[in-house]
Symmetry: C2
Subunit: 372 residues, 2 copies
């Protein structure tokens, strides 16, 4: 098949599920990370994701998998999103179920479909560079690989997982594809520096492009029962039985990340290809990442997000996020993180940004769900 | 005259004027420092001052000089305060006018009165030690001196002015009195360490005890016009002409601190005596002082003031002040100062506490008076 016909069979899937606990109290159960404008671009991360994909697919071939509670907010953000492209989860079941259900529904509707899964809450500014990589990944998917896109690292980041490239692959239409040797977890700084120096490590952006049937087959090898449930759901999805089948099957599905059920086993089996991407990318995993995004390389910068016009800073650096009308005054605080919301205030530092999740966990245990 | 008769002629004056700009946004024009409970004692600083003095004077011989705007709040704090002991300023004119007016009124009412002036917003826990020193100061005043109380320094504080003691004085009833050599401004740390080592420096607590006529005479040497205005006001104070005379005279009075018009000239002229006080004392001049007050010598302490029950701290030290119901979460911030009020939030560090005033000044210039 030619590239153009593969592209015609391409369908984007946006799983929009994660709350983004490390961004509490900005991100909440009722205001998850993907519904925030974290870049100051004037649009939510979800909308930014849609806008990057739309030139590839057109607006009729983008599916969003999200929680029932977020349906209205998602549809408000994406007015062109077609009804049949909204997949609602009755409860979160992690990425294997979310992406697997989308794959199963689309394969059922359109055998031979190629799907690409792209997180709703990542930031990429160079949309053209992104799409160039996706087009190569589609070619690799058309050739039977499960393809991922790895981002060429620009610094020894310790907040991301890495992909170790194996040998170069010879795939028509995907000249820069490599085999994936292994996925590696978030490293410490020394290890990350080694990866950067070695030159054959890429950041794992969590994007997967594959023929739906190939992805489901791979998934079934690791999780046959989960696959069975997804196929059952897909068979009834576009029928009047959908509700009953969802109620029966969804609660029993195993909650597990696609990294373990598809990506790692496929890498071991030599079925995973990686396209190096030279575009900028960030998963904006914590407030330090937001600060970095907004600093644009400037030192001693204070990033201000939100529409609060009354923020006074004297010799202070870091991040302030506020949508309130309160006057916020910072004096001599460095690498500070201040997140000001109506019912919760967070004060920490960029160096402690990863620890925010532990506070959220503590609040859950303490029964303070009202602010989560 | 005997000590007991001097004590019978004693009258306390509490100037309750300063806003406490370094404690913004807690202290405000409409909620000045003296109306706050900064010690966690369950009462305002003003009330604490009253309670320290009342055993000396009884409640009929304590006068409060305050702004018209604070009358109701002051009277609510001090239900026993007699009407004729409330002196209202139509606009703030600094300490010479405030204390001088009280002196002039009291001297007019009761020639030979001895007055003591005590700030409304200082913290002293050892009230007995304080009163012992005041009793000696009254004896020195009765002997014709202007007396002050200097606090024996316990650390090389850089936030206070110091008094350098001269020779010992021989005053009946004031065995520990020294002459005052000089007043010195807030020193740097090296200089302060030198003062502490030298042993003949005391903190300037800003307390003055003197016969009213002696104080007024001293004042008149430096500021004859100001004295003339004060005598005019005092002559009409208890008459129906008070309002008209205030309107005519008060706005024209020079705005100047009593340190320059009375204390320093009296020290130069050898008329100033100092009683060393061994009691604890703090002017709670900034948020660092509040942190210190509440740490009670414990390291790594987070002082929490206010009635907000939802403050979570993880590896954080410093001061948090909040009367809101918002959840406040601190993670890994050291020596932090967080002051959370409905319309203004301050985030700084104890080391930057003195710089809060400059922000208040900037806000004034910027026309942000609504939060001051």
């Amino acid at each position: 098949m030619s590239d153009s016909s593969a592209l015609e069979r391409f369908y984007s899937v946006i799983p929009a599920g994660g709350i983004g606990s490390r961004l509490w109290p900005l991100s909440r159960a009722d205001a998850p990370k993907f519904l925030h404008d974290l870049t100051g671009a004037g649009k939510t991360l979800l909308r930014g994701t849609w806008d990057r994909l739309e030139p590839l697919n057109g607006d009729q071939r983008i599916m969003v998998v999200t929680g029932r509670a977020h349906r209205a907010a998602v549809e408000a953000q994406l007015p062109a999103l077609a009804d049949h492209n909204v997949v609602l989860e009755s409860e979160p079941k992690d990425s294997t179920a979310a992406i697997g259900l989308a794959a199963a529904i689309l394969e059922h509707r359109e055998p031979g479909v190629i799907i690409g899964s792209f997180a709703a809450d990542h930031v990429i500014t160079d949309a053209r560079g992104f799409r160039r990589a996706v087009v190569e990944a589609i070619a690799a998917a058309d050739a039977g690989y499960i393809a991922t896109i790895g981002i060429s690292p620009t610094d020894p980041a310790i907040g991301f997982g890495y992909i170790h490239c194996g040998g170069r692959l010879d795939i028509a239409g995907a000249p820069s594809a490599f085999a994936v040797d292994t996925f590696v977890e978030k490293p410490n700084l020394d290890v990350a520096r080694g990866y950067l120096a070695a030159g054959d490590y890429l950041w794992n952006g969590g994007m997967f492009i594959s023929r739906a049937d190939v992805l489901l087959k791979q998934l079934g090898e690791a999780e046959p029962e989960l696959l069975e449930g997804l196929l059952e759901l897909a068979a009834d999805w576009d029928t009047t039985r959908r509700g009953a089948t969802v109620d029966r099957v969804w609660p029993r599905l195993r909650k597990i990340a696609i990294d373990y059920t598809v990506a790692e086993p496929a890498a071991k089996a030599g079925r995973l290809a990686v396209i190096p991407g030279d575009f900028d990318w960030d998963d904006v995993g914590d407030f330090a990442a937001i600060g970095k995004l907004h600093s644009s390389g400037r030192a001693n910068n204070l990033a201000i997000l939100g529409d609060n016009p009354r923020i006074l800073s004297d010799a202070s650096t870091g991040v302030v996020i506020s949508h309130s009308k309160r006057l916020i005054s910072l004096i001599g605080v460095e690498d500070i993180v201040v997140v000001d919301t109506p019912d919760a205030l967070l004060v920490t530092t960029t160096a402690n940004a990863q620890r925010v999740k532990s506070v959220v966990d503590a609040l859950k245990l303490a029964g303070s769900g009202d602010v989560l």
